[in-house]
Symmetry: C2
DNA sequence: CAATGTGTTCAGTTGATATTGAACAACATT
DNA sequence: AATGTTGTTCAATATCAACTGAACACATTG
């Protein structure tokens, strides 16, 4: 292998990016198809119709439906109307990455609240356990704070 | 429900914490048993034997074996010897949470490198796509940087 | 009205991974 | 040596979420 980058055809690079992002997103715990949809919309930038997504990714319309719903709720993509076309169109959200971080922060906050609740149920006699569980809570607080700042930072310089 | 915390029995709080952490960790993509092992060791703080883990969590020894191996590689727990006892003992690692972050950072760096590689393959004519994919790379860099700082911060004030 | 096109829902299937449990190797004890 | 313990491995199984595809509701068009 050469160490310098070798530009392939545009179509090949696009396909690579979509598949690669699919597996990365999958390893992050999200459905693979959602990752591929997101990658396609990020790469293309412009509006892509519901039908085009199903066709381009070779998956069922049901999968597209649930994937775009998931991505919409996390504000990673938005559904837009194309005048004179009955189909739904989608495009990457303006600040998709900051929103991705915010979604993750939300999940962490829920987990932190869950742990904090348990912390309140540990008898005060269990000083050591309380301290270690509190450390767990501190971990979450530090993470959500740092990630929120990062999201804001990326929003400022998109 | 009352808004004030209600301390239950120590055993109950411990069991709650272990199960709760198990499902949280599972939602993060790790095996549930590994999460329960980690929670038990965090709660107890002291050394717990291989056999005690299997007994307390009511799972097979095979599961304990693979779980502790996973947790060891991520430096979340450490295997220690108890003089005069043939069994392996385990206890929570000194800076488990920072190490947890570092492990996550490592995964992100790998993903970022993967995406950067693809970026080099996109023809320069695809200016818009290149820019948006570069944004993806920037997201990863910002995240790994922030998380590394957070890990260091937690390490300083454990 | 019938026929076509669109997105959603959901029961069933598939596929990936966690978990089990038996076989095993290594070692200690009798 | 024989027996018992301990941790690992691996094939079989269980589990769980993703995905499919058909049924559906709704809208548009002819």
């Amino acid at each position: 292998m050469d160490s310098t980058a070798k530009p392939k055809s545009a179509a090949q690079a696009r396909a690579d990016f979509i598949e690669k992002t699919g597996v990365i997103v999958q390893s992050e715990g999200l459905p693979r198809i959602a990752g591929r949809v997101l990658a396609l919309l990020l790469y293309d930038g412009e509006r892509v119709s519901f039908g085009q997504l199903a066709e381009a990714l070779q998956v069922s319309r049901g999968s597209i439906s649930s994937s775009v719903r998931l991505l919409e709720t996390q504000q990673l993509i938005k559904r837009v109307a194309e005048p004179g076309d009955r189909q739904d169109y989608f495009q990457i959200a303006p600040s998709a990455f900051p929103n991705l971080i915010e979604a993750s922060v939300l999940r962490m906050r829920r987990a932190a609240a869950d742990i904090e609740e348990t912390l309140g149920e540990i008898p005060v006699t269990e000083a050591g356990s309380r301290q270690r569980v509190a450390e767990f809570v501190r971990y979450y607080h530090a993470m959500t704070e740092a990630m929120t700042e990062t999201a804001q930072h990326l929003r400022r310089r998109p």
